[in-house]
Symmetry: C2
Amino acid sequence: MQKLRVESFAVSVDGFGAGPNQSLQNPLGVGGGNLHQWFFPTKTFQQNVLGKSDGTTGIDNEIAENGFKNIGAWILGRNMFSPYRGSHNVDWKGWWGDNPPYHVPTFILTNHKRESIEMEGGTTFHFVTGGINAALEKAFDSANGKDVRLGGGVNTIRQYLMAQLIDELHLVVSPVILGSGENLFMNLDLTSLGYKCVKHISSDKAIHLVIKKSINT
Amino acid sequence: MQKLRVESFAVSVDGFGAGPNQSLQNPLGVGGGNLHQWFFPTKTFQQNVLGKSDGTTGIDNEIAENGFKNIGAWILGRNMFSPYRGSHNVDWKGWWGDNPPYHVPTFILTNHKRESIEMEGGTTFHFVTGGINAALEKAFDSANGKDVRLGGGVNTIRQYLMAQLIDELHLVVSPVILGSGENLFMNLDLTSLGYKCVKHISSDKAIHLVIKKSINT
């Protein structure tokens, strides 16, 4: 069975998955970078995202690495792809340069049509205007039987959680207070939606949780 | 300088400090006991609260133990003292038996007057109807120069946070999803209130955070 997975998604102690005022200068919102201090030093981030050859190993890296395994397609919210709102700026091809770290078909949820963009290294960005179910169907279809990874951001994950479409959610609680930003949990009763923490692992930088949909509704 | 400290206060990943539907049967709310799995096995809990002689040592115990050091008085919200609402049931003397684990003057915030109760082992329960500032003043006055510990619950801690009266807040994030209950963070911008995480320690059961008021406002 193909799964829809959220992996390595970091939140602050007060529940924020991104800081306020996302912009070209602050793609993660103000203070949002602090959520990812467990991730930035890892070999997985250094190699897959920055193209460097070094990086740390250990618990944090193992977990980051697992998040990339058996993934046949990605889904991203439009705000994760771009700092622009409204109609697309067609010069913008994502934050990641010519060779993005996805290497598979990547579906961007948006209200504005745009032609697909073939990037280097196997990533093709497809723009889906039909909503979360349409994006998920397309992603499953193009994933060659593998899982689909939902990258975020907060609003997109909340939509998929409310629709009970996420099978597995790996959250990272970082030891940070953000105070404001995009709150993952606000008015979301994950227990009633059937989600339960089935496993946790502590590293010296964060606590990792594996949350699974435990009932079929 | 005397401090107002919150110690060993556990919250779920989704921000709840107690489960829903607190009652005589569920003093921590439904599912609330899961927040304290890091604490129950410790020597500090086993000895101070249950009067037993065993219990675990290690990070969790060390932190629990520190929470009892240099404390000259406690403040508790009324719901932490009692499952009853409205006028006091004068037969009720707390959850803890004849010798409660406080051993110092303990001030209960309530809207209903009641005579003080002297318990065994040094604990005296005083009932304060004048609000959070009055309780804090009385607690500082009776603490012999030591710090005051604010025990909870969620609503009481939120009131003191909003008034920027808490100097140090030790939170424990337990790897648990509660879905509903009493949310510590809802609409509370801790960053704007001047609070910042200054230290964290991971154990294999939870992540501990020391949050301090970093600006004077």
